[in-house]
């Protein structure tokens, strides 16, 4: 197994700021917008963007939630192991809101498909956008594209994109791992 660095901590930081600015450009004061991180790994990205928007761009209030999609996935019983759930925490209504779904890596699009189904349990949003840090080009199984993307990469199917966060893994770094 070999791995190479795709993005360093500094590059990630620049990209996060750009993504925050793009969100700001489209949603201004986030009055009618909610950020939803897809569990388990999209949570860190969503929290990071939330922090940048509040601390550096002085957005007063942002509704931030985390969505677990385990029970909505289309590969239940298809893998070896039982799918393990994580916590959903959405303590606001998304009825008539602009929802920004946030995940670290966009690959086949199946997770996002499940997230869109899961969202329906929390109301009917006005519109839904997708933000991802890494977009793996040419590997989609479904017609799903991000509205905001950090970096586009071409990775073959044997490769895996590993996103590490300081708060969880000790440092901000993204690897391309050859399995």
């Amino acid at each position: 197994m070999s791995q190479k660095v795709l993005l360093s901590s500094k590059e990630i930081n620049i990209i996060l700021h750009r993504l925050a600015c793009q969100l700001l450009e489209n949603h201004l004061n986030f009055e009618n917008t909610v950020l939803i991180g897809i569990q388990p790994r999209g949570k860190f990205l969503a929290e990071r963007l939330n922090k940048i928007l509040k601390e550096e761009y002085k957005v007063k209030h942002i509704d931030l939630g985390f969505l677990d999609i385990t029970f909505y996935r289309d590969d239940f019983r298809r893998g070896e192991k039982t799918l393990e759930a994580t916590k959903t925490k959405i303590d606001f209504l998304i009825e008539d809101k602009n929802v920004v779904l946030i995940d670290d890596v966009l690959y086949t699009g199946r997770s996002i498909n499940a997230a869109l189904t899961a969202l329906q349990s929390f109301g009917r949003p006005k519109d839904v956008e997708l933000l991802c840090l890494i977009d793996r080009r040419f590997s989609r199984h479904l017609p799903i594209q991000p509205n905001y993307r950090g970096r586009q990469v071409d990775a073959i199917n044997d490769e895996k994109v590993k996103v590490m966060w300081e708060e969880n893994d000790g440092e901000d770094i993204i690897y391309l791992v050859n399995r």
């Binding site: 677990d68 029970f71 239940f76 019983r77 039982t82 916590k87």
Partner: protein, 308 residues
């Protein structure tokens, strides 16, 4: 640990402690789901479950059915009273006939102990025991422990007394197994005639004085006197039973601590507990019912994930 060690839920006796923890963690997620405004997830949309009840049940059957529907499974309901069982069909034939209609899982209640175990050896489907005679009622014991954990933070180290007809109770046996597995201290309390001989061999204490039992415990699980199972007279009158083993507000108030009151239902108000106790804030009877749906969703979800 993300998988159950068993393919069927036949009894607590066959589970490991890690299985119970996995079921509880999964149930936490489902409890959040059933408190949303849209209480349904699509996980089991390609699974068909038959609920086969050879014995009467209201609460358990409703709870299982609701759990299955909340997981989007297709549900078949079957009561023995309206079926070919009356015409002389055997259990295996009945179930195999249902299975040939492509059913993946069977939830069964049966008056004979071991019926689920027997079935699991002869048919090709996941079996969930919803009560087999006086043997086990695993989902009830799981939801009881889950409710204790929710109220008191943990089950380990807690003192739990099970009061009433221990002899005929599947709830008592499953609860004893589940509580012991999680490290609780268990006593049983009731008239001597309704306590099985050698029950101490399961590692439980025996107490025939209700007051002493309540003074010792953190949780009292009050069982119903199952008149339908009492073939001979085990105590003189219901009134005498109530005087000795019924819990009332006055008795609870005279204890120097506030204990938790549980009941698996259906309650005979005024027999094993009085109305004011059943409806008091010490009682978690309705929490048990709510948790029952979450626990059954967890059990079905985890077992279904093993169906390939």
């Amino acid at each position: 640990m993300s998988e159950l060690s068993v393919k069927h839920l036949l009894g607590i006796k066959y589970l490991k402690e890690t299985d119970i923890q996995l079921i509880f963690e999964t149930a936490n997620h489902f409890k959040e789901v059933i408190n949303r405004s849209i209480k349904k997830v699509p996980s089991l949309r390609d699974i068909t479950i038959a609920n086969i009840f050879f014995e009467n049940s209201t609460r358990t059957k409703l709870s299982f059915e609701l759990a299955e529907k909340r997981l989007s499974a297709d549900v078949l309901n079957f009561s023995a009273s309206q079926s070919s069982v009356k015409k002389g069909e055997t259990l295996i034939d009945t179930v195999n006939n249902i299975l040939s209609m492509k059913v993946d899982m069977v939830v069964m209640r049966h008056p004979n102990p071991g019926a689920g175990i027997f079935l699991s050896k002869h048919v090709n489907a996941s079996i969930v025991n919803a009560g087999d005679g006086a043997h086990e009622h695993p989902t009830q014991a799981l939801l009881d422990s889950y409710s204790i954990r929710e109220r008191l933070g943990d089950v380990a180290g807690k003192n739990v007394v099970i009061v009433g007809d221990i002899l005929h109770s599947r709830v008592a046996l499953s609860n004893i197994f589940a509580l012991k597995l999680q490290g609780a201290n268990v006593k049983v309390c009731g008239p001597k005639t309704l306590l099985p001989k050698h029950i101490e061999s399961l590692g439980v204490g025996v107490e025939t004085n209700l007051r002493k039992a309540l003074e010792w415990c953190d949780v009292a699980n009050m069982l119903r006197i199952q008149n339908e199972r009492l073939d001979i007279s085990y105590f003189p009158t219901t009134r005498e039973y109530t005087q000795q083993f019924g819990v009332n507000k006055k008795l609870l108030d005279s204890l120097d601590k506030e204990i938790v009151i549980m009941h698996p239902g259906p309650i005979n108000r005024g027999v094993e507990i009085t109305s004011d106790v059943a409806d008091s804030k010490q009682s978690i009877i309705l929490n048990q019912v709510e948790n029952g749906v979450a626990i059954r969703m967890a059990v079905i979800y985890l077992l279904a994930s093993k169906i390939k």
